[in-house]
């Protein structure tokens, strides 16, 4: 459990950048298949 928490702490600073990257991918997917 502690190792998961430690990994989480290290991962959190990258989370907004990962989310922003995924947002761009999902937007591209939508433009390609739903418009």
């Amino acid at each position: 459990m502690d190792s998961i928490k430690a990994f989480g702490r290290k991962f959190i600073p990258f989370l907004p950048f990962l989310i922003a990257f995924l947002a761009v991918l999902v937007a591209a997917y939508h433009i390609q298949f739903y418009r």
Partner: protein, 383 residues
Amino acid sequence: MENPTNPGTDSLAPPTAGFLAQNPLLREFLRDQVPMIVVVFGLGLLAAHLQYGFVPGGDVAFPIAGVRVPLWHLVWMGFWTGYLMAIVGEASGIFSLPYSMSVLEFTSVSVSPTSLITTFLNPFGALLGYWRGKQWNLDLALWLCIGAILGSPIGPFIRVYWLSDPVPFKAVIGIVLFFMSVHLWIQTTSWYLQRTTRQREFKERFDKMMQARLADGEAPSGLPSDFRIVTEERSWKRLTISYWGERRSFSVPAMVLIGFIVGIVASALGVGGGFMLVPILVSFYGLPMYVLVAGTIPFVIVLSITGLISYTLTLPMLTGVSIPPDWSFGLFVAAGAIFGAWLGSKTQKFIPEKYLKSMLGTITGVVGILYVANYFWRLPFQI
């Protein structure tokens, strides 16, 4: 009856109780956020049935929005806009609105009241936490909210009579995005950081206390038990508050005027107004984020509901023009935004703000310039 494998605990107690006791954030999420997210998503399904008789999505277009978009995409849009904006300390509407228009192609006037549904519901998850943490002062919120009540009914008329066409509307959104980009970039400069030394000292004192809480196994986002935002002086002219040894004074007419102007602009666009109110309260009054939420969160809720009432009731009654929001669209986005805003507020302290603000400042700046440029020259691509 004592638990033989873990002396000192009750063997009859469910095993999850101990697990949740050791994970206060998970407990808070399950207790406060999950019920709210489930209820708002359920309201979205109910609203779809009541408004259309079916649930729109990826196969069948949302009739008012006029777009096909899967429900998961709406929840995802709410999540990421709510998350990123909670980290930089402003409402999610200013991100979700351009995304709805440019990516989802929801460009009718109804996008504004639909966005107000999200900005109305989005802060409730955070509001619960702030109320429990005593980050609450009705006197601070009152005059801003009165300004919002006076100003936000005017915005929808501006939207319908002067900004109903998507191109000039996007140009105005572009100006707002550019303003926000400049604000985000300024926050990364050493000049700004030196200028806000007092706020930084307050934050450092606060962060030390947070570390102590973490070491004790408590939730890092909690506040000290002695934290209060206390009203020192209250009159028609002046309001003075104090919090944790700090003291701030406000002119009441100025607070009402700020709420009024932000109310007009925000309801005309269909956003919560945090993008204007937060910089004003930080720059002019030097309020730290932990305190200004006591004013901005109730302000965004009041502004959104009065703006929504103006779009759905006042505007049709006075002009005969009906601008219905797409209730289900807004509620599905809100379900994701509640979770995103909560997660953002809990992880904010661990995020390298400088890089994030630079990145978001660049994106909002580029989109803002393109929106404004598209008004003067037809761009070779669709935006």
